[in-house]
Each structure stands twice: as structure tokens, then as C-alpha cells.
């Protein structure tokens, strides 16, 4: 049995169905990211699990206890579910230590002090214990928020867009740090985000959410490489959608033959990631470079194919092609996925 189970969960606000018959399972110690565009209902999902909203239908089970279901609503304070808020929601009248110890008020003093100290060490803020929260940097505030949620040793930690209020430059480093802290604490965590990179790099599994439902769940590699639908393919990273005819393990398209991950037959659409295409300047050109986005370690080209289609191609930045250059684009040796529309 999974550690956290969400079954048939629905929640509407007036005429808006934020979450529709949603199912989700999280294993113990797992870090699961719910990835979806803004307005897809992911924050509502989080708030229902935390107990701040009550579901219209369905149930939530945490650690074998039904916390929300027909005829049973456990109030948030009794759920053993910790939450890290988007803008942290630190208590401005309490010190760093006071914030972290807030959820431990029912424990004996010694245990409380020990847990507070240990959690502050875990997030590397033991030297800031006595500080006021407004003296902290953005990254430090986030670590306090995380420590505060982790201190009572909850069954589940929820993180609501935890990096969205940080500078882009800080984000990468903090992402890794937060992941390490969560793994050190052996916490089970559910993170919601609209940032593909964040979800793919951080999580053990990614659940893609759209219009109140989970449309695909799997390890990051699978969600990226084998999108379940055209929408999922387009939402999780950049993609070229090509039409072709499948014959067993290969698919014939206007750019040539791609290998298929899963054999198919008949007329299909395939999702081709920008790095699954190659360029060469020798031989017959079949496309023209219309735009170039230099990203340092790699380059994203926008091409116009002779068939009229716009293609995205991502290449290492070792060799650069100029805008206006005529190039030959062809499949790279990598398997692609046929889309279910």
C-alpha cells in the first residue's frame, strides 16, 4: 500500500472544477512533483491534502489514516502534514528558532529544543537561530520554512511552488539543497510547480496535471521521453510534432525514418524533442535557419523546413550555424514516441 493515496478527489469553487476525480499515490520517502500550468488545480490539490479545503468527493489517505473522505474530515492541525508556502508565511513576530519550534509546542521541552536544534542543523541555519526572520535572505527564509515544516516529523511535506519567489540565479543551487535536505530527513514530499526543469531535475516521479486531472505519472526520464499525449509532450519541454506512417519499430516522416520506442503501425504523430534532430551543411539542404537562441552549453535553432514546417533543433554549442544558413536536418539516432491524441 502506498504511503499517501488520493482517490477520486473532486473540488469545485462555484462553477469552476479545480480538481476532477483525481487519483494519485505517493510512496514512502518519495519526492513527487506535480507539474502543471497555472490554474490547473495543483494548488487546490495541495490545499485539500493539507486540510485547508474540503473535497466535494473522493478521499485522501495519509499513512493508512483517512484524513478526508465521505463523513470524515480531519482538521489540518491533526493531519501530520507539513506545508511550505509559496511565500513561506513565516511568523514575523517570532525568531528563526521560534518559527521552527512552533509546531512542537505539545512536546516536552527537552525534546522540543533537541528537535529544533537538529532541524536547524539539517538546513544549515543553526547560527541564525536567534535572528528575526526579516533579517534573512530569500534563500534562508525558504530554509526556515522548510525546517519549520520538517521539525514535527510529518508524514508528508507539501511544497507549494517553493522556488517561485526566488531569483533565477539562486534557484538552481537551492533546488539541489532542498532536495538533499528532504532526502536527509527521509521525508515523503509532494511538490507542485509549473517549472518543467524544476520538476524533472528534482523529483523521483513527476505527475503531469491538466484541468484538474493527472494526465501522466512516471519517472522524469519517462515523462520527458515518452509523453502520454501531444499536450503533455508540448508542456514538458519543447517538442516537434511530426506526422508519419509507422511500420513496426520505425516511423517514416518527411524528415526521414525515426526509431520507435514502442512498435506501432499506421498513420501516427510522433513527438520529436529538439535534441533528437541533427544538422549538417554537407549535401542537399532541406531547411533554413530562421533564428538562433544561444544558451551557453547548447544552442536552440528555429528552422523553416522546405515542407513549410517550423522545426526546433537543439545542438551543443561546439559548432554554430548562422541565421539564414541553408542546412540539412535529419533524425538523430534516438527513439521517439508515437502520440496518443
Amino acid at each position: 500500500m502506498s504511503h499517501v493515496r488520493v482517490r477520486g478527489l473532486s473540488k469545485s469553487f462555484g462553477a469552476v472544477e479545480a480538481v476532477r476525480e483525481l487519483n494519485l499515490e505517493i510512496e514512502r520517502g518519495e519526492l513527487l512533483a506535480v507539474l502543471g500550468p497555472s490554474g490547473c488545480g495543483k494548488t487546490t490539490l495541495l490545499r485539500v491534502i493539507a486540510g485547508f479545503e474540503q473535497p466535494d468527493a473522493g478521499c485522501v489517505v495519509v499513512s493508512d489514516e483517512v484524513v478526508a473522505g465521505p463523513g470524515r474530515i480531519v482538521p489540518p492541525e491533526k493531519r501530520r502534514v507539513g506545508m511550505v508556502f509559496q511565500d513561506y508565511a513565516l511568523f514575523p513576530h517570532l525568531s528563526v528558532e521560534g518559527n521552527v519550534a512552533f509546531g512542537l509546542s505539545s512536546r516536552p521541552r527537552e525534546e522540543r529544543d533537541a528537535l529544533t536544534r537538529r532541524t536547524l542543523e539539517l538546513v544549515g541555519l543553526q547560527h541564525k537561530a536567534g535572528c528575526d526572520v526579516h533579517e534573512l535572505s530569500g534563500g534562508e527564509r525558504q530554509r526556515v520554512a522548510l525546517a519549520r515544516a520538517l521539525a514535527p516529523e510529518p508524514d508528508l511535506v507539501l511544497l507549494d511552488e517553493p522556488f517561485s519567489s526566488l531569483d533565477a540565479t539562486l534557484r538552481g543551487g537551492l533546488r539541489r539543497e532542498v532536495e538533499l535536505i528532504l532526502r536527509d530527513a527521509e521525508a515523503t514530499a509532494l511538490l507542485v510547480t509549473h517549472d518543467q526543469e524544476e520538476a524533472l531535475s528534482l523529483a523521483d516521479r513527476v505527475a503531469v496535471m491538466r484541468d484538474g486531472q493527472i494526465v501522466q505519472v512516471g519517472p522524469p526520464v519517462e515523462v520527458y521521453g515518452e509523453p502520454a499525449s501531444r499536450w503533455a509532450a508540448q508542456f514538458v519541454g519543447e517538442v516537434n510534432v511530426l506526422s508519419g506512417v509507422a511500420r513496426g519499430s520505425g516511423v517514416e516522416t518527411e524528415l526521414g525514418v525515426f526509431d520507435l520506442r514502442v512498435p506501432a503501425s499506421g498513420s501516427v504523430h510522433v513527438a520529436v524533442r529538439p535534441e533528437q534532430l541533427e544538422l549538417s551543411v554537407r549535401g542537399n539542404a532541406n531547411a533554413e535557419v530562421v533564428a538562433r537562441e544561444f544558451r551557453g552549453h547548447d544552442v536552440l535553432y528555429r528552422l523553416r523546413h522546405e515542407g513549410g514546417k517550423t522545426l526546433l533543433v537543439q545542438l551543443p554549442s561546439l559548432e554554430l550555424h548562422e541565421v539564414g544558413e541553408r542546412v540539412f536536418v535529419r533524425p538523430a539516432p534516438a527513439a521517439v514516441t508515437a502520440l496518443v491524441d
Binding site: 485547508f52 511568523f91 514575523p92 513576530h93 512552533f102 509546531g103 509546542s105 505539545s106 519549520r148 515544516a149
Partner: protein
């Protein structure tokens, strides 16, 4: 749906609101219960209507002229001492009408015992309402509008009259409405000056004839006038906001006055403050010294001071606590019915103390008879301070509510959620998150209630238990018997304590803006926002 659900907090809020607003809503019922109640006092109503009308017209015109002129002076002109004078002009807010009346009667000002005398007294102590609102409106006006008017050939004075004044009109009318509500609510001044208005009629019907139905009916009539003014004030406030938004831009640079005009601009306002605040304070101090030296102090003075301190102190705890529970109940239950109920509970706002007293006595008396029938406790409610506290809650709840709700709104809801996610139930959230964050708001509310209860005269007079005289009653009693020296010390104490919230307001508005609300005196002003990082 969580929003429509009635949980414990919502029910508690609604009950509390009913308790507070119920008696006021019940007032008009007296016309049904005793249809001919007023026939015994047929002379009272025309007399009261006449006196009240004259009072309203006179005080309205007086505060309008004085308040607007002073506001225009400090907003559009620069002269020596302007920054000090700007705030000194607010000080009369600390002077209760009946204390100024004591001063005027003590000096034996000719013709003071008349409706015109009352109009003068009210104008002098109530003009700050108009002054503050008009000043805020003038200061928010953009120079472009005035410059446009001058470009069209108007002199500066005419530009102010034809553009500045009309733009500030909603704010000024709002201030006048507040001043008029205060004048209507007053009992001490009109009673001492022998002006027979509604509050005075209620008092006479109550004490001389013991006719509660008639008192309730008079109170209903008075309330309808007050509520009309309240509605006018609300409308004016909404329009004032529009006018100020429309007129936003660079501020109007003040014109520097020189020579004789500059001297006049500095001296006349100071003379006014001297007349309304400094001279009375000096006179009261002199009387106090005389009374102590010559043994003229009333023997009950110590008891009255103690009663005042106890009543004001306990109300300063009780009323903010009720307001906090009410405000938090709305927030915690997220129930719309609770929110509407809480709003209803604040209609005691600006209602005359005599009306509130009359309104609460009837349900309390009914309840008391029921309890007496069972337990034989006698006058448990109306004969003790319980009735008085009840009246204070009804009367001053809005004052505390305003101060507390303003701070409560600045606490992001996420903090509530965060605390609950960490195992705090809703009462814990209140105790461990809100109360510490609301310290300033709660302290402000407590101070306002303390001062208002200390000054309060009519409700206390009507509901006090035997031997429960307060400083305010001592001042009124001694003044009505022309024992001015005896009245000096209690009056001095009331004014000095009353200066505290005015000083606080001036200090706060140095940083933020001043706002006057429809409230017995200073009202809930814009409080300095506490630093609550979201």
C-alpha cells in the same frame, strides 16, 4: 462548501452580534407595544424637534465654515509655525462639550444658556472633524487642476473657491455629518445649557416619569436622525475617495504669506486653540487648586475617580476582547453570514449613549425578571455594573472593532494556514499568531475605549448602580449646581487623559495619514502598518 458552512466560530460570532445589535434593532418595537406612549409627553417631541433642528443647522454651518477655513489656511498657505499649528488645531478633540460648557458657565459668558450658546460650544469643540477631513482632501489635490483654473483667468483665491472647494466637498460634508452626529449624541452640554433636545427629553422622561416606553420611542426618533447622518457620512466618504483619486498628482505648493497676513494666519488659530483648550485647562487647574485648598472637593471625589478608573479599565479589556473575538470569528469561519452579523454589531457606532442605555435596559430587565423568578437574585443586571458594561460594549464596540480589524486585515491568511498545518487549532492560532501580531491594534483599541468610557456621560447616568458616580457624572452634577471649583479637578483629569489618544493620533499621522471615522470622538484612525512580510 466550506464558505457557507456554519461552524462554532460562525455561530459564536452571530450570537455575539445579535447580543450587541439586538437591543438597537428592537427599539422601534416600542411603538407597537405601547402605541400611545408619547401622548403623556406631547410637548416633548415638537420642542425636541425644534431645538434639534436649530442645533443641526447652527452646528453644521459653524463647523463647516470654521473647519474648512482652517483647513484651507494650513493646506494652501505657508506661514511661521504652520507645522505646529496644523496639529494644535486637532487638540479640541480632547475637550468634551460638557467640560467646555463648565468653563463657559464658570466665566458666566452672557447668553450662553441658550440654543445659540450650545451651537457655539459645539462648533468650537467639534470643528476638528471637518478640519481633519477637509485638510486631507485639500492636501491630496493636484496642482495641475488649480493651475488649469488660474490659466483660465481665475485669481488664486477664486481658484480655491471654484475648484479646490468643490473637489473637497464630499470630504467636508462627511466631516460635518460626523460633527452633527456628535452634537446629536451629546447630553451634558445641552442639559447644562437648558436646551431641550432629544437626549435631554429622554433623560427627563426616564428619571422624572420613569416611562420606559416613551423613552424608547424618543430614542427611536433620535436614532432615525442619527442613522440618516450615518448614511450621509458613508456616502460622502465613498465619493470623497473618488474625488481624491481623480485629483491625484503633484501636490499644490503652498503660498508663503508675509507681514501682517502671516501674523494673522499664525495668531488667529493659536487664539482659537488657546480659547478651546489652553484657557479651559488653566481655569480647571486653578479651580482644582482652589477646591483642594479650600476643601471644596466633593466628598465622593475619591469614589468617583475609582469608579471611573475601574469602569474605563475593565471596559478597555472587555470591549477589545469582544471585538477581537468577533473579528477573528469572521476570519476563522470564513462565513458570509458571520461577516454580515459582525457588521451589524457595529451599528452602535455614533449612536447617542442615552439611546444605547434605553435600548439595553428593556431586554436586560426582562431577563432579570426571569432569573429573579428562578433564583431570587433581584436587580442582578439593571441594578449593577453588568448593565453598564453591556451598554459600553454596544456603544463602543465599533471603535475597538475598527482598530482591530484594520490590523487583522494586514495579517496574511497564509499565516493562519501555516500555523494550523503545524498543529495549532483555531484558538491556538488566535493566541499564538494573531494576538502577538495585533498588539498595536489591541493597545489602540484599549486606549480609545478607556478614554471614551471615561468621558461618557448619558449612558452612565442612566444605568449606573447606586453609589456608582463617575468623574463625568461628578463634573455634570457639580456644574449643574454651579459648584465650578468642585467640578474642576474631575474635569481636568478627564481632559488630560483625553489628550492621550489625540497625541497618539498626531504622532501616527506624522508618518501615515489621519482618518476620522464616525465615532464618538477621535475614532479609529489609520494605524501605522505593522511589518508583516507576506
Amino acid at each position: 462548501m466550506a464558505r457557507g458552512r456554519l461552524d462554532g466560530f460562525a455561530v459564536a460570532t452571530i450570537l455575539c452580534a445579535l447580543l450587541v445589535a439586538g437591543p438597537l434593532i428592537g427599539l422601534p418595537l416600542s411603538f407597537i407595544v405601547a402605541p400611545g406612549g408619547l401622548s403623556r409627553f406631547s410637548g416633548f417631541v415638537p420642542e425636541a424637534v425644534g431645538a434639534t433642528a436649530v442645533l443641526l443647522v447652527g452646528v453644521g454651518a459653524g463647523t463647516f465654515l470654521l473647519g474648512t477655513a482652517l483647513a484651507a489656511l494650513v493646506s494652501f498657505f505657508e506661514f511661521p509655525g504652520r507645522r505646529w499649528i496644523e496639529w494644535a488645531l486637532v487638540l479640541p478633540l480632547a475637550m468634551p462639550g460638557y467640560v467646555f460648557t463648565l468653563f463657559a458657565l464658570g466665566l458666566d459668558v452672557p447668553g450662553i444658556r441658550s440654543t445659540l450658546g450650545a451651537v457655539c460650544v459645539f462648533t468650537l469643540v467639534l470643528y476638528p472633524y471637518v478640519y481633519l477631513l477637509a485638510r486631507a482632501a485639500f492636501l491630496s489635490q493636484s496642482r495641475t487642476l488649480l493651475e488649469a483654473a488660474r490659466g483660465l483667468g481665475l485669481s488664486r483665491a477664486r481658484a480655491i473657491l471654484r475648484v479646490g472647494l468643490p473637489l473637497a466637498r464630499p470630504a467636508i460634508l462627511g466631516g460635518v455629518a460626523l460633527a452633527l452626529m456628535e452634537a446629536l449624541a451629546d447630553f451634558g452640554t445641552v442639559n447644562l445649557l437648558g436646551v431641550r433636545t432629544f437626549t435631554d427629553a429622554i433623560y427627563r422622561v426616564w428619571f422624572n416619569a420613569f416611562d420606559r416606553d416613551a423613552a424608547m420611542q424618543l430614542a427611536t426618533l433620535l436614532v432615525s436622525v442619527t442613522l440618516t447622518l450615518l448614511v450621509l457620512e458613508r456616502l460622502a466618504r465613498g465619493r470623497a475617495r473618488h474625488a481624491q483619486l481623480a485629483a491625484r498628482g503633484e501636490v499644490v505648493p503652498p503660498v508663503r504669506l508675509r507681514g501682517l497676513p502671516a501674523m494673522a494666519a499664525a495668531i488667529l488659530p493659536l487664539a482659537l486653540v488657546g480659547l478651546v483648550v489652553v484657557a479651559p485647562l488653566a481655569q480647571l487647574a486653578a479651580w482644582s487648586v482652589e477646591s483642594v485648598r479650600e476643601g471644596l472637593l466633593a466628598p465622593e471625589f475619591a469614589a468617583a475617580a475609582r469608579n471611573s478608573a475601574l469602569l474605563a479599565g475593565m471596559s478597555a479589556v472587555l470591549v477589545p476582547v469582544v471585538a477581537l473575538l468577533l473579528a477573528y470569528g469572521v476570519r476563522a469561519s470564513r462565513s458570509r453570514i458571520a461577516a454580515v452579523s459582525a457588521r451589524t454589531a457595529t451599528i452602535g457606532y455614533g449612536l447617542p449613549g442615552s439611546v444605547v442605555a434605553v435600548a439595553v435596559i428593556v431586554p436586560l430587565g426582562w431577563l432579570e425578571r426571569r432569573i429573579d423568578g428562578v433564583a431570587g437574585t433581584g436587580l442582578l443586571l439593571t441594578g449593577t455594573v453588568i448593565g453598564l458594561f453591556y451598554a459600553y460594549v454596544v456603544r463602543f464596540l465599533a471603535l475597538a472593532w475598527g482598530a482591530i480589524e484594520a490590523s487583522l486585515l494586514r495579517i496574511p491568511r497564509q499565516l493562519d494556514d501555516a500555523a494550523r498545518g503545524l498543529g495549532a487549532d483555531r484558538l491556538d492560532v488566535l493566541a499564538r499568531v494573531h494576538v502577538p501580531l495585533l498588539r498595536t491594534g489591541l493597545a489602540t483599541a484599549a486606549l480609545l475605549v478607556f478614554v471614551e468610557v471615561l468621558k461618557e456621560l448619558p449612558a452612565t447616568l442612566l444605568l449606573r448602580p447606586l453609589g456608582g458616580d463617575t468623574l463625568a457624572i461628578a463634573v455634570w452634577q457639580a456644574t449643574s449646581e454651579s459648584l465650578f471649583q468642585t467640578a474642576g479637578l474631575p474635569a481636568l483629569l478627564i481632559v488630560l487623559v483625553g489628550l492621550l489618544p489625540v497625541a497618539l493620533m498626531i504622532r501616527l499621522s506624522g508618518r501615515g495619514g489621519v482618518q476620522v471615522e464616525a465615532s464618538p470622538a477621535v475614532g479609529a484612525w489609520a494605524e501605522e502598518p505593522e511589518e508583516v512580510p507576506a
